[in-house]
Symmetry: C2
Subunit: 179 residues, 2 copies
Amino acid sequence: MRTDATEVLDSAIPVLAKDRAASMQVIAKRAGISRATLVRLFPTRQDLVQAMAGKILDDCDRALSRAEADTAPVEDVLAALVAEYPPFAQLWNLVYVEPDVLGVPEASRRADSVFGRTVEFFKRGQNAGLLRNDMPAVWLASTFCGLSETAWELTLEGSMGTRQAPDFIAAILLRGAAA
Amino acid sequence: MRTDATEVLDSAIPVLAKDRAASMQVIAKRAGISRATLVRLFPTRQDLVQAMAGKILDDCDRALSRAEADTAPVEDVLAALVAEYPPFAQLWNLVYVEPDVLGVPEASRRADSVFGRTVEFFKRGQNAGLLRNDMPAVWLASTFCGLSETAWELTLEGSMGTRQAPDFIAAILLRGAAA
DNA sequence: ATACATTGGGGCATCAATGTATCAATAGAA
DNA sequence: TTCTATTGATACATTGATGCCCCAATGTAT
């Protein structure tokens, strides 16, 4: 039964989200494997963290590419992007904080690139008249990522259902919390 | 020139926000003091972190007490609370993540209490008809804290002015990002 | 059934951060 | 100026995580 590296990464993400200083021991236990096997898959902690970041960035990449290519009305494209919020939550929560990522120029550059594309997408929303034009797109993109992170944590914690999260993000993002 | 513990804490907060694993060495340097002095002020790392959490919780406490006692229209009270967003951003960013806080029952209990009062305040906003009633108050309170964190990070990073932050939070929180 | 590959467990050296202690330099009050 | 308190610098032992290695146990393919 060969262990699947991707599954290990998936189980490691919420662990590191809870405690960024979680030891390899703890991460392995949560993944249901021994520390030895974990080390075999990811020789150093940096390798693990960067693989995680890589996976998250890949997911963001795919979602953004779909959004960029989509020719449907901007509001529909935005809804589709919101439906794929988890990697953006993780981008905000892990990638953009972990020193092992920011310390490596190449990984850091890639993270910036992904976020830059997110900003561009929100600019497109502004130009289409869907999003407010009185604040820079960077703020809007950050709001999206931040809301995603909030929703993601609420689901991890249990006070929000996974299926409710996209609606929550879309509702607050577009209309806010006013009655 | 006796070193002021509060100033040290204030300078330590953004450092730990950037890198939660920052060493005492780094924290001391950022505060402009030697590691020896830092250790004298806070004998263990736990002492430092808990003092930080204590200060943040105190600030939240004060802001909440003012909001609870304020008899002005709810929208004005909310605006006043939003104007004091930093401690809530830090609550979300540091207190609610640091194992050295969550691990200590008393500190953890206090954090929960503060957040509980925040939720109560948003319930009040719902009952007054100001805030939407189709989602639990916990979601709204989390949204507020999350938006505060986003705004705070944007100011730390430099892409948002300190004076713009409250308006940003209030605008998104109430009306969202739609045009 | 046999051979091969992968895992789990344990031991061990290393390293960085931590916590503790000491002492000279210096700022501020008497 | 003198005395006292506080700081900065340095050294040291301890601790916990890490990275590396080996070997027995287990699973898988031929």
